[in-house]
Structures are given as C-alpha cells and as structure tokens.
Amino acid sequence: MRHDRPTAPTALVIPMHNEASVISGVIAAARAHFATIICVDDGSADDCAALAREAGAIVVRHPTNLGQGAALETGIRHALRLRDIEYVVTFDADGQHDVRDAASMVRMAQDLDLQVVLGSRFLEPTGTVPAHRRAVLRAAVRFTRSTTGLDVTDAHNGLRVLRRDAAERIRLRLHGMSHASEILNVIARESFSYGEHPVTVTYTSYSQAKGQRGYNALNILYDLALHRLRAAA
C-alpha cells in the first residue's frame, strides 16, 4: 500500500530539538509528499530553526525547552489554526521515519474513513528493531493493550495521522515523553475509529543516540499511573 501525495490537505508536525545536522534532509524528503510542514523548535541551541525555515517549513519556536509532548501539542494547535488542514501527521525529526509511510497512512485514513492511523513497527516482520529496544516496546504494547483495550501492535511510535476532529479533541497534558501513551488513552476514551499501518523505522546511530533510554519506560509508567488515578479520583 504505497501511495504518492495525499489528496487531502495535510500538515506534517515535526517536533525538533537540536537537529541541525539532519533536519534539512528530513524536510526536503517530506516536501516531496506534503505541502505544509510545521517544525516546532523546542528551544534548540543550534540553528535548526533557520535551517528548517530555509528548507521550506513553517517554524514555531518555543522560547525554552518545554518537552517533546509540549512541542507536539504546539504543532498540532498551529496546524489546526490553518483552516483548510484536514489531517495532521506527527513525524520525528531524527530521520527514522519514512515519509512515504506517512503519505500512505493519510491515504488509509481517507480510504477507510478513520479518525486516527497509527504507525506500527511490528505489523510486518522486520528485523530492524534492536533486540533490547524490542523487549521494552513489547512490554509497553502489552501494557497498553491491557490498560486501554486498544488492539495495537506498537505503543510508542512517533508516526501517526490524526483527522482534524480527533486532533481537536486531543490536549496533551504530559509535556515530556509520556505523550504517546497519553494519545492512546485519549483514543480509547473518546472511542476514535483507528487503524494501524506498517512503517519502517530506520535506527541510525544518530537516532539511537537521540532516542530514549530504556529505563525511561518506568518514568512513563509512573506518569500514566498518576494520570489514571487522578482521573478516577
């Protein structure tokens, strides 16, 4: 299921933090498929904001570092201010996602009339996920399936498509790295129609150096537990 430029107006939201060495290439590749690219510079110390602007992206700059979840929320809100945008795609800045996957995910959302399409590394057997990473992700998926009841195969994939009506109802409160689970919780709570689409994630030494530590999963667990208990109280 590979498609070219999606027909519906779509905004690609890319949170970035000190990504000067890769951001130009990522945006250049993305512009082949998407007209609107919103980069949220989360208080970078390098000149990735200028590079992104040069490459043709809209840049929203956080005055200081607020966290990836906060950057996503900012990007989504900016996208929703653009009146004609129908779909918002969240995309990682470090070059680990394939923009063709993003394009075919939007097509899938259109064709199947879905509010949310989630990227999954595990729908198709791929050997590209490093073993230690796979163990943490598998555990995260089991946790997500049992707590949200969502039938998903990947829990922390940064590549996802949100239709405008879904994006409008998502308000990310967890500013750090727990936003992926937070989004899944909203999907479950609001009973959005959703689907999964296979994606390839390229683990370069750059993306792995920028990636999270495995033990941060426990921090995410803590965030979620507190969030849930509070919702119940």
């Binding site: 949220v40 809209i58 840049v59 929203v60 700059r61 956080h62 005055p63 200081t64 607020l66 966290g67 906060a70 929320e73 900012t74 809100r77 900016h78 201010r81 308000r171 409160r173 500013h175 507190l226 208990l229 509070r230 109280a233």
Partner: protein, 123 residues
C-alpha cells in the same frame, strides 16, 4: 498503639492528596489552621517540655522527642507533596504561556490568544 493509627492515617492522607492532585479551598483552610496549631502547640511545648513526653506516652510513644520526630516526618511529607503539586501546576501554566507566545510569534495575525478553557477547569 494509638500512634500507629495516627501515622497510618496521615500516610494514607498524604497518598490521597498526591493522587487527587488539586488544591481546594478546604485544603487551603486546613493548611492555614494547621500552621496556627503548630505555632501554638510549639509554644506550649517550649514552655512545658514535660507535656510533650506526657502526650507521647499517652499515644504509645516512649519519649517526647520521638513523637516530635514522627510528626516532623509526616509534616515534611505533606509539605513536599504540596510543593510538588504546586510546581506541577505552575509548570503547566508556564508551558501554556510559552506555547501561546510561540504560536503568536509564528502567526501574529491569528487572534486566537485566549488560553485553553480546559486549563481553567482544573483549578
């Protein structure tokens, strides 16, 4: 022993405050009254040191010093949780403020600068 009950109730209360995560008018009143009580009781304890030991023994603690230490631990826990909640709340506002600034700078034409209404519901 009464002290066990008192301390367990206090710890459960601390957990509840952490989980509820919001400060209400009632909690403000409680904080203010407790501060007053601590000042008055502290004054009494300074003037009549023997009274602390008597109270300690009445609730099942050997020495007055131990009772003071236990109460200090519980108080410290409550203060820490209250500060943690307040910091979180301020961080949420700070993120929203910074975001509005960022959005406004990116697109000064859009006059959508009012804060998200859901931010106010939580207070």
């Amino acid at each position: 022993m009464i002290i066990k009950l008192i301390l367990l109730v206090c710890l459960a209360g601390a957990a509840l405050v952490l989980i509820r995560g919001k400060r209400s008018a009632l909690s403000l009143l409680l904080r203010r009254s407790l501060t007053l009580v601590v000042i008055v009781v502290g004054g009494v304890a300074v003037l009549f040191p023997g009274a602390v030991t008597e109270v300690a023994q009445a609730v099942g603690v050997g020495r007055g010093t131990d009772l003071v230490l236990y109460l200090l631990c519980v108080t410290f826990l409550f203060v820490t949780i209250a500060l943690y909640l307040r910091l979180n709340e301020m961080h949420d506002r700070y993120v929203e403020l910074a975001r509005q600034l960022a959005l406004h700078e990116a697109d000064p034409q859009a006059h959508d600068t009012h804060l998200d209404s859901r931010d106010h519901e939580r207070r």
